[in-house]
């Protein structure tokens, strides 16, 4: 069944090319239909691949060039469960967003749909590829289409600037990937991940390996928006069309974290085995910093899409922390988080899109009380926010529970408390915005929040039931995901296999089946995790209440004391591409030097 592997990539590529060739002659709606059908087909193939990857890695050698004596001649897709799961998530979100976009992008002919399909193919190829340079190629397929989609509204100056910041910083990240690839190629004479891993299994972690890992990790962390490489994300997600944001926020950035985990476990886990503690500490530091900075910035926003963008950054920090534990439960936790989060945040972005179309704005203060007439949307958004915070058994709670177990095992028992703090602040911001928009709570002015340029649009349309249904389905799916039968155990088993380097190399290079899995016992939610989830929710309600009621004066008193910090944080997010590049260089150096010092 390895013939399945190329299909989720080849089908959208073929559809994009055909749409370019024939779209100009086709009647209207053909672009919508082709887009949705191709994305749905890719989703189905990814789902089949996921089922196929349950038993064994799915390995497909392009051109039929099977490896000879441990040397790979060609390129392979190597599909594991976590990768197939991400491909499935990408397919679901692209399909949903194209349904949401029905009839909306007519003015540009087929271009929008062509780019969305290429974007999907890029994401899926990136997670399925077992070849480091091929990953770079798909990184760029994904990137080039994403930059263009971000600036869709070319008459909006912030959209164009957001796209420029996105394109420059991500391109720089891609160049770091290339240098890392060149270093590894110079050492191992290979590009296949399994072969590279075999070549350095017993090597000592010397300068070349440490630097190669640091550069590759940074390149992927740029995509995953770890602090201080995160600036572009808030800019791009705030301005991209809602349809595109659904996919950006729901899955694109997560792919960076997946790739980081992938190269660590297939290539570097051998030579770094004795120094894993240092790698863990550095990556965990980056994850925690990202979670907290993202949460703080989230609370300071009034532009709803930018607010959600910083929430995404905070969540990415949590995913990174899970992976950084270098433990199966931590990785499984990150996987569970990513799945639930992708669906829920997708639903929330669609909801902001509906608000914009209904009330002509995505400004929390301008929208004050204007959501009162939308009871269904009100419920959907609240459900999404609660699911993102961690109501026991629903939404991200499974992720949190697994991550907490992993943190205990890895010797970081305080990590869940930090994650809970970040989750509470994000929940506070989201609930504040929800209450202001949908209940009309709180004042209409708030000096604490970042000023936003007015961009009222004079549109007012009834929410279409198709769009409302899309948002509802995504939020419901995200909420109920942890209840899928057998999911916790499967995730942990998948994570254990993901971290089994010899089995991976054997399957890829020698066609050996991976060892049968051992049964694991996983609780759907631990008592600790239930407590932390409720604490985050309670903290969020408290923070939102304080932000909206007379108690806010006390909060702003607190705010004054923290004023230099807040102002500094704001000033750093300057929107200046030169600043972002300087931060990029600085962050790369810090990450690299810390890893070097830690490993040596």
């Amino acid at each position: 069944m390895d013939w399945l592997a190329p299909l989720p990539v080849a089908v959208p590529l073929l559809a994009a090319a055909a749409l370019t060739a024939f779209g100009q002659f086709a009647p209207p709606r053909v672009d919508d239909l082709t887009g949705i059908l191709a994305a749905a087909a890719s989703t189905v193939f990814s789902a089949l691949l996921l089922a196929e990857a349950r038993g064994d890695l799915v390995v497909h050698w392009f051109g039929g060039w099977r490896p000879n004596g441990g040397v790979a001649l060609g390129i392979s897709f190597v599909v594991d469960e976590l990768g197939a799961g991400l491909a499935l998530l990408a397919g679901v979100l692209v399909t949903a967003s194209l349904v949401f976009a029905w009839r909306y992008f007519d003015e540009v002919g087929t271009l929008f749909h062509v780019l969305m399909l290429l974007f999907l193919a890029g994401m899926v190829g990136f997670v399925l590829s077992g070849d480091l340079f091929n990953m770079f190629v798909f990184f760029e397929v994904m990137g080039v289409s994403a930059y263009a989609l971000t600036a869709y509204r070319i008459e909006d100056r912030s959209a164009v600037q957001g796209a420029i910041n996105f394109a420059v910083v991500n391109s720089l990240g891609a160049f770091l990937l290339l240098i890392g690839i060149a270093l590894l190629y110079g050492r191992t004479g290979a590009l296949n991940l399994a072969q590279m891993g075999n070549a350095v299994t017993t090597a000592s972690p010397d300068g070349l390996l440490v630097v190669a890992f640091a550069l590759l990790a940074t390149g992927f962390l740029v995509k995953a928006a770890a602090v201080p490489f995160h600036f572009w994300l808030a800019d791009a997600y705030a301005v991209a069309p809602t349809t595109v944001c659904v996919v950006f926020a729901g899955v694109m950035s997560d792919l960076g974290i997946y790739a980081l985990a992938r190269i660590y476990w297939t290539v570097f886990s051998g030579p770094f085995a004795s120094e894993a503690g240092a790698v863990r500490a550095v990556l965990l530091g980056a994850g925690i910093l990202t979670a907290l900075v993202g949460a703080a910035m989230c609370f300071l926003q009034r532009h709803l899409k930018r607010l959600l963008a910083f929430a995404v950054i905070s969540h990415l920090g949590v995913f990174l922390s899970g992976v950084a534990l270098l433990d199966p439960r931590g990785l499984a936790g990150a996987g569970a988080y990513v799945g639930a989060h992708g669906l829920l945040i997708g639903g929330l972005f669609i909801s902001t899109g509906m608000l914009r179309r209904r009330a002509g704005s995505v400004d929390e203060l301008a929208l004050h009380g204007r959501g009162r007439a939308l009871p269904v949307l009100r419920a959907v958004v609240l459900a999404g926010v609660v699911g993102l915070t961690g109501l026991p058994l629903l939404g991200v709670s499974l992720g949190h529970s697994l991550l907490a177990e992993g943190a205990h095992e890895a010797g970081y028992p305080w990590l869940p408390a930090v994650v809970t703090l970040a989750a509470a602040i994000v929940a506070g911001a989201l609930l504040r915005a929800w209450a202001r928009v949908f209940l009309g709570a709180g004042p209409r002015q708030d000096a604490l929040l970042s000023p936003e340029p007015e961009e009222e649009e004079s549109v007012s349309e009834e929410p279409s039931s198709l769009r409302l249904a899309t948002a509802t389905v995504l939020v419901a799916a995200g909420l109920l995901l942890p209840l899928a039968p057998g999911l916790p155990g499967q995730l942990v088993q998948a994570a254990e296999r993901f971290q089994d380097r010899p089995a991976y190399a054997g399957a890829v290079l020698d066609g050996r089946p991976v060892p049968a899995e051992t049964a694991v016992h996983v609780q759907r939610i631990t008592l600790d995790a239930a407590f932390y989830g409720l604490a985050a929710l309670a903290g969020g309600v408290l923070i939102a209440t304080m932000a909206l009621t007379p108690a806010r004066r006390r909060l702003s008193g607190l705010g004054r004391r923290a004023d230099p910090l807040v102002r500094g944080l704001r000033a750093v997010h300057s929107g200046h591409v030169g600043d972002y590049t300087a931060w990029f260089v600085f962050g790369t150096a810090v990450l690299g030097v810390l890893l070097s010092l830690g490993v040596h």
Partner: protein, 245 residues
């Protein structure tokens, strides 16, 4: 950040990055001592396995042909992206201006069209035997088409490469790559696995799928580069509007 603070931050990071790069590069083999094995293996087996004389072409269109598929679609995405971003000039009916007024320059330019196109075709055709190939030749072919624009006038260029035809060519050629891959997959082999006869080593018909993919790439590249350049030149053909704010 002030310009000075930005430079200071960059300097601090730059020193660290320079140190890191130096440390990493010091672990490489000395210049001129490529350790292998990937390239050495391909150099040994490619001519025998694929009956072409350029191992780079065999790598690009066969061993690592899937990279090239991705690369083609990067170019394809860029053409679509540029068309999306520069759509405004295309949509407005403005008075079109000729970019080159001098008649002698035009005549020289037109004279160059023939050589550019011939050179492009040659570079494409012999790409898997000698240096060159679909990409390099494709850019030359596109340059030939653009010369018609620069030397003639915008309207003449529009006649030589009307968007409809270029879009059709680009889409069909780009589709051919994954379609061929899927066809070979359906025939029981792997995606893009060659089943065609390999021909005599060194002849134009050697290499099985390699010449096919080479020409596919050439058409895609010609069309995509033409579209991209045309979008930029169209920007010049319409007068600049004052910014809205």
């Amino acid at each position: 950040m002030s310009a000075r603070a930005r430079l200071a931050l960059f300097a601090a990071g730059g020193v660290g990055l320079a140190f890191l790069l130096a440390w990493g590069f010091s672990g490489l083999a000395d210049f001129g001592h490529y350790p292998g094995p990937y390239g050495d293996v391909l150099n040994r087996v490619a001519v025998g396995q694929r009956h072409v004389t350029s191992v780079v072409a065999a790598t690009v269109f066969d061993y690592r042909g899937f990279d090239t598929l991705g690369e083609e679609f990067i170019l394809f995405a860029s053409a679509a992206g540029v068309a999306l971003l520069l759509r405004e000039a295309r949509q407005r009916d403005a008075v079109l201006r000729d970019p080159v007024a001098d008649r002698t320059v035009r005549a020289v330019g037109l004279l160059l069209v023939g050589p550019a196109v011939l050179l492009g075709l040659y570079v494409v055709a012999f790409g898997y035997l000698t240096p060159g190939g679909g990409f390099q030749g494709g850019v030359l072919l596109a340059a030939g088409l653009v010369l018609v624009w620069a030397a003639g006038s915008y309207r003449a260029y529009s006649r030589v490469s009307p968007t409809t035809v270029v879009d059709l060519a680009e889409g069909l050629a780009a589709a051919a790559f994954p379609a061929l891959g899927l066809a070979l997959l359906a025939s029981g082999g792997a995606f893009l696995e060659n089943v065609l006869p390999l021909g005599t080593r060194g002849s134009l018909l050697s290499g099985g799928t390699i010449p096919l993919l080479n020409w596919t790439a050439a058409i895609t590249v010609t069309a995509a580069v033409t579209l991209i350049v045309a979008e930029f030149l169209e920007e010049l053909a319409v007068p600049l509007r004052r910014p809205t704010r």
